[in-house]
Structure formats: C-alpha cells, structure tokens
Symmetry: C2
Subunit: 135 residues, 2 copies
C-alpha cells in the first residue's frame, strides 16, 4: 500500500533567509539552487538540494500569516517534513479511510503544477507532514 | 569545501515508539527496518528507511535524560536533522574555524563504529544538526 518515494524536503522556518544562508550555505556548505517567493504559501523560500532531497529555508512574507504566527510562538527551527508520493489522491483517500486527521482533504496545486496536501500534526504525533506528487 | 553527502535521517522524538508506529508504519506506510536500544543516546530508536535516508523514531529510556526533558518541554515532534559527511573531523575543524558553535568539539563513536557529532542549534538558527561519518 505504500506509495511513498522519498523525503522531498525538510522545511526550516527562519526569520531572515539571507541571515540563515550565512550558516546553511556559507558555513555548512550546502549549495543554494535558487530563491523564490511562493505566494500560495505566503513565504519566500530558499532551495538547497542535497542528494535526492532538499533543505528549504522558509521566511514568512507577512506578519499575519500562519507561518509568521508559528515563528513568533515557537521560534526558528524545523517546520515540516515533506514526502514525495506516487499518487497523492490515492494516498489522501487511504489516510482518510484510516481516520488520520488531515489539514487538506483534497490536494491543491502549486505554481509549478505539482500537487500538495498537509497532514495535521495531531494525526502524526507532532510532526506537520506535507505530501507532494511530482510532475 | 563541502563534503556533505546526503540527509542521513530525521529524528522524531516520541513518547512511545509502539504508539508512533501506528501512524508511521501502519497508517502512513513506511517500513520498519528494525528497533533497537542505543545506550549512548539514552534512547530506543525505530529505524524506517526511505530512499537514501531514514526516519528515526526516538523514545527516551530514562526520565532524567536530556531527551526526556526536551520531550516534556516541547512535546513530540522533529528533534534533529542528521547529515552524512565524508570526513567528520575535517568538517568539525572547518566549522570551528568559521566560529560555528558546536555541542561536540570532537566526534564520538557509536556502538556500530560510525562517528557522530552535534552542532548547537544556536549555531544553525534553531535546528539541532547531527553529523555522521559512515563506515
């Protein structure tokens, strides 16, 4: 039943991407692929690929977003863990049948066409899990 | 200068591994490779490989350990992010030279012979980072 392919990315919530890059790129040595604004997520994101996965630095773009509130409450740190799946609709159906609490009952479509959905941390034991179906 | 090979694992701190496996293995569909006690870390760990990385569920074994205190304070959730590096001594030297705050100035050796060290979250912008050099 598993159709999970790999860890897509780890998202790290940060106050200021440029400041965070001083560690992740300059000191630690990850490569910055690119930096972009993702309006659907209300954030600017730096993409640092590593092997088959990515580290993403996520900076909220407005002070009243969910991300900004989370940042104010919990501080900088790991925010969510994203898994690439083969068939996101099938996976969501499967999770629903098993009574797992979802944030998104249906997948939504990113600017680049990929489909994503989030599982509620109450359904996973404390971890905000994102699912993504690649193109 | 970068000698980072891949994400080795994401460690998720949990109250009860068996309970957590109900989501991660039974509902979500990751495969459990094995479960073992890691005395040097004061924890029981479930290893769930996925692609080139692993998800690890970490349950503190005693109530007075650092892990148990973290769990009591922050609750269940992502605990640390581990990167596999080619040469851990060289990486630690490099980080020290750049003024990055480390938890372990020297690597220590796990039961299985691999070498590990932790970077302080104050040095990374909120993320507890582990380095591991494979066998």
């Amino acid at each position: 039943m598993t159709n999970i392919k790999k860890i897509s990315h780890i998202a790290i919530l940060v106050e200021d991407i440029e400041e965070s890059l001083k560690f992740w790129r300059d000191a630690f040595g990850l490569e910055l692929d690119h930096l972009e604004e993702v309006p659907s997520q209300g954030a600017a994101v730096a993409f640092l690929p590593l092997g088959e996965s990515e580290v993403e630095l996520v900076q909220p773009l407005s002070e009243d977003s969910g991300l900004a509130k989370y940042l104010a409450k919990r501080g900088e740190g790991m925010h969510h863990l994203c898994f690439e799946v083969e068939d996101i609709e099938a996976k969501l159906e499967d999770l629903k049948k098993q009574g797992v609490r979802l944030i998104n009952e249906e997948a939504s479509t990113l600017e680049d066409g990929r489909q994503i959905a989030f599982i509620h941390p109450k359904g996973t034991g404390g971890v905000l899990v994102e699912l993504v179906e690649g193109l």
